[in-house]
């Protein structure tokens, strides 16, 4: 009996996902973002300053997600038109054919750090040899950053015990000496320092200058049907990004209101985040190449795959 019920539910769910967006152009945009993510501050600023409304858009928040993969699943289910999400889940889901999306803007670049636990007296990345280092996930941007840093220091990754710990648990793990170092995005590095749970060994800006991080993505079909709506959305995003860069102090206050982090944290954390909107095909491809090496991306021609994934026309990018 219960099996039959489950199947019935499954069928209903299947039918529901079948109903997508209509074909006529719309000003309604169903948006998803990661809750309390400082990298996606431009979304909050655009919303609070009315930039979306000024563009004549009706932005409806479908979901504040706690992790990128769930947000990408919502794209897969046809429930989102546009979203702010990390490069890793966006590229992974596109590569696996789980979500048909395009990257139409950058939300931020850099903004991660390698943090080491208190009492670990190492001067540089070389000191991580033989240590336990936590990353948020296999083949994430932070995994890439770590591998790049080890590579440049001449350390074989096999000599480092790389484990996966979710960012909120990293600070406690550092403080208790369970891990020696963690590679993580802001504001966690700043929080770790503020709580005496660690110090920043090196910022990701020094390892991979201008590496991509959070992205603005759009459902491919929505983009095809509503190019003008996407253009307006990105215009609001650009306006918000410029606003953040021109009003850092106010933006830090807004980040406090959005994420609940103390302004003493958001002010410091924002110094390590670069709010920029033009996606770099070249930088994204170097990350895709890393994902291919880890076996996550299967596409043979990573250059062609990246070009098909990134659309720089909305941000006035050069297309490279």
């Amino acid at each position: 009996m219960s099996v039959a019920l489950l199947l019935l539910c499954a069928i209903c769910a299947g039918l529901l996902t079948g109903c997508g967006s209509g074909t006529s152009a719309t000003r309604v945009v169903r948006v998803g973002y990661l809750s309390t993510d400082m990298h996606q501050l431009a979304y909050y600023v655009a919303r609070e300053k009315g930039f979306f409304t000024q563009e004549g858009l009706d932005v409806r928040e479908v979901g504040a997600f706690s992790a990128g993969p769930e947000e990408m699943s919502a794209f897969s289910a046809g429930q989102l038109d546009m979203g702010y999400v990390g490069a890793a889940p966006a590229i992974t889901f596109a590569s696996q054919g789980m979500a048909d999306i395009k990257i139409v803007a950058q939300a931020n670049t850099i903004g991660s750090s390698i943090v080491v636990r208190p009492g670990l007296d190492i001067a540089d990345v070389n000191g991580l040899k033989g240590r336990t280092v936590a990353i948020p996930g296999v083949s994430t941007m932070q995994d890439f950053i770590l591998h790049k840093a080890l590579d440049e220091a001449g350390v074989d990754p096999a000599e480092v015990n790389i484990i996966v710990v979710k960012p909120p648990d990293m600070i406690a793990s550092l403080a208790s000496g369970q891990i020696d170092a963690a590679v993580v995005w802001e504001p966690y590095p700043t929080m770790a320092v503020a709580q005496n749970a660690g110090r920043v060994l090196i910022t990701s800006a020094k390892i991979l200058p201008d590496h991509p991080c959070c992205m603005v993505v759009v459902d491919s079909k929505f983009l095809k049907d509503n190019p003008d709506t996407v253009k307006r959305f990105i215009a609001a995003h650009i306006k918000a990004t410029d606003y953040i860069n021109a009003n850092k102090l106010e933006a830090a206050d807004m980040a406090h209101l959005w994420t609940g982090q103390d302004t003493s944290i958001t002010r410091v954390a924002m110094k390590n985040i670069k709010y920029a909107y033009v996606p770099s095909v070249k930088a994204i491809q170097s990350y895709v190449d890393f994902m291919k090496k880890s076996g996550v991306v299967k596409q043979k021609d990573t250059a062609a795959f990246t070009r098909s994934l990134v659309d720089t026309s909305f941000t006035g990018g050069s297309g490279r």
């Binding site: 099996v3 199947l7 499954a10 069928i11 769910a13 299947g14 039918l15 996902t17 079948g18 993969p69 990408m72 897969s76 289910a77 890793a88 889940p89 992974t92 889901f93 590569s95 696996q96 789980m98 979500a99 336990t132 936590a134 996930g137 296999v138 083949s139 994430t140 484990i163 996966v164 710990v165 979710k166 909120p168 648990d169 406690a172 793990s173 208790s176 369970q178 891990i179 880890s294 076996g295 996550v296």
Partner: protein, 250 residues
């Protein structure tokens, strides 16, 4: 075997799943065939590559059995005490009922502070899942023992300890085993939470499933779910087998 038809409902369910997923009616849901291929990939290649299914399975078995064993060792004596002495029940009951509804995942950050990364913290989460079903079933098992039996034993001159060992414990055994079966099931259900804290050695079925989710490999994700389902089924079958032998007297 006269009960061959028992495999018909699962086969029908599998066929329906294959049909609906194959037709694309379930979104991007992998088909059973893809899940089976996923299991092969997990054994041959591993996820992340190099971390094979066998290692994930062993690591999770260790976590589940450690947590379950601790739960069993604490819950059964406590449950018997609560069932036999009303006072014990009055003292412990409010605490149990207040802690029981808290989702194991909520304990994860505290487990990390208390036990650090590793076996102890994951086993603690599993313990929380397994403990309450065993405890409550033990209590109800003791309470369900016919008072006339206890009275009869007492008039025959049996001491308290003898009544406990010869009447109450054997009498509540069926209920305790039911509690074990439920507890074992919930222990596996908490595995994702238990391994979400982070695993130090890179192994664990729950960790593997979360990695498949991160990497958008839903075929491997479903493969991992199937593995947990099969292992859970086998363990339950073993417990029932033990139950038949143990309770032959019934």
């Amino acid at each position: 075997m006269s009960r061959w038809w028992k495999i018909v409902p699962p086969l029908v369910a599998l066929a329906l799943w294959e049909l609906l997923a194959g037709l694309g009616w379930l979104g991007k849901t992998p088909t059973p065939v893809q899940a089976v291929r996923g299991i092969y990939e997990l054994i041959a290649t591993g996820l992340p590559p190099g971390y094979h299914l066998q290692g994930h399975l062993l690591a999770s078995l260790a976590r589940v059995f450690t947590g379950f064993a601790v739960a069993f060792v604490i819950a059964v004596p406590l449950g018997i005490a609560m069932g036999a002495w009303p006072l014990a029940s009055v003292i412990v009951d409010p605490l149990v009922e207040a802690i029981r509804p808290i989702p194991p995942l909520a304990w994860a950050p505290l487990a990390l502070i208390w036990f650090g990364l590793g076996l102890a913290s994951s086993a603690f989460i599993v313990f929380l899942g397994a403990f309450f079903p065993i405890l409550l079933n033990t209590v109800s098992g003791v309470k369900s023992v016919d008072p006339h039996l206890v009275e009869a034993a007492r008039t025959l001159g049996a001491r308290k300890r003898t009544i406990l060992a010869r009447v109450l414990v054997p009498g509540s055994m069926p209920s305790i085993i039911t509690g074990m079966r439920i507890g074992m099931g919930i222990a596996w259900m908490t595995l994702i939470a238990a391994e979400l804290i982070g695993v130090k050695n890179g192994y664990g079925l729950g960790y593997m499933i979360m990695t498949a989710r991160d990497l958008a490999r839903y075929d491997l994700l479903v493969a991992g779910m199937v593995v947990i389902g099969v292992v859970g089924f086998l363990i339950d079958w073993l417990i029932r087998l033990g139950e038949k032998r143990l309770l032959r007297w019934r």
